[in-house]
Symmetry: C2
Subunit: 316 residues, 2 copies
Amino acid sequence: MPSTPTENDIRRAHERILPHIHNTPVLTSQFINELTGALLFFKCENFQKTGSFKMRGASNALFSLKPDQRLNGFATHSSGNHAQAVAYACKTAGVNAYIVMPKNAPKVKIDAVKNYGGNIVFCEPNETARQEACAKIIQETNAVFIPPFDDLAIITGQASCAKELIETHADLDYLLTPVGGGGLAAGTALSVKYFSPKTEVILGEPKNVNDTYLSLKAGKIIPVSQIHTMADGLKTTVGKLNFEIIQNHVKEVITVSEDEISRAMRMIWERLKIIIEPSCAVPFAALLGRKSFFKNKKVGVILTGGNVDLGNLPFV
Amino acid sequence: MPSTPTENDIRRAHERILPHIHNTPVLTSQFINELTGALLFFKCENFQKTGSFKMRGASNALFSLKPDQRLNGFATHSSGNHAQAVAYACKTAGVNAYIVMPKNAPKVKIDAVKNYGGNIVFCEPNETARQEACAKIIQETNAVFIPPFDDLAIITGQASCAKELIETHADLDYLLTPVGGGGLAAGTALSVKYFSPKTEVILGEPKNVNDTYLSLKAGKIIPVSQIHTMADGLKTTVGKLNFEIIQNHVKEVITVSEDEISRAMRMIWERLKIIIEPSCAVPFAALLGRKSFFKNKKVGVILTGGNVDLGNLPFV
């Protein structure tokens, strides 16, 4: 594969994962449309299997391989939604999932992975320990590594989300997603380029972890320097492959404060009556902060997931 | 109309309100099915206009009248979901809504009614003051009274909810709803009788406000003696018309503790990723408390609404 997936790569990925994912619903809110003056379409990946869009990329990575290449199972290191997605995709395929998690990971996340049948390998809570533990497990088991975001199979899998939204909601002026590692952002940018070229992609990023914003300005990747944000899915530095695609196909990154994230999240809960996690309130917060810019526009917003600790809500 | 609505009454009510309501989605959860051993279908009235099933009855009561009978607007007394539903139905019809609310009603509920364009008339927080204030407003304005539950137009409107569920999910063994004033319970019992006679209706009621449970035992209405429950939509004594229908067509009332309500509510939030209010966790709590009874059964559960104060959650 070349470093930029083609239209056909995305079509094939979507067909491949269709039996394993939900074509998630798109919700609207009259109240929010009146408040913003825009016409908003929320693509609800909180209703996706395992509660986030990560199931798209993980199942694409897994099912891209032939059955005899899957026999030794799959491994990854993650304490978040990617871990759950890999565990569940492996359960679907009937193979082992080895998930390296920091030993201080929240119990709720450990339980979720266990619940999907994942084998958890605990490690010290730092990047080096994670990678070493994962490499060791792969050496011992011959499992295949499924990276969390900077990977062509992951990008094309995540691209299926925007593709679905475009198929039912043509002529969007803008499509908004959050950006963390950038797998969804890159996949979305490519789906828009191929399937809805008049639409522009805008990314939302927490002000506190604004590496993609800074990287686009600098023309090179500027790693995250601090990770204090409630948007726990977006604490990662943007991936290399993803950054290249974002540089070429994304219009802008809008950054938002923690307060804006919390208020946007609460509005979605109250008005759409759905549970979303802080990370996916970020692009909606970006829109709320720029109402005049989005006025009278048709805007798609990908709500990326709903795995949130109800005992620790920002607005309670 | 006779005191029991006919099959045709319900069909006509449903047709009448179709342009004004959502045919709400039905959600399922693999996790919850595995946990309970039953096959559960959740009818999501939290996604209904104004956030609850009350919009069905209110719009049926309003649009049952000819346009020239609607000109003076409509009045009701309520501090809950019925108030919002009447206000919104009136907005839809372009007529005035007069909503009598106790002067200590929560700001969030007052704001919701204002937001739908309702004219709020405040009164002292007791039943007599409510009724007097409502009678006075009706005398002054010639508005038409829309009762909250004990009324044939309300019952047939609420009946449309079970009708929709039955149309897409045939052969349910049981259909569960909460019971407060009993409008939804009675309407559900009638829809089941006409459209799915093999299904049995079971009601969930808080142990702390178990008037319908006691009334069925006694063979006559036993008014509520205390109202200390988090299920704020279910604090009312069952209505006379509704009780008669419930007596004839409901299999059983199961009562549940406050703790059971809170746990059931949290499970719906975490697993379905949707916001429901405590009242509608009551029938699901009833099912969780009787897993062996419902095992291997196909069960519909009406989730009645999603209007909840996020600053005051039972499980946080």
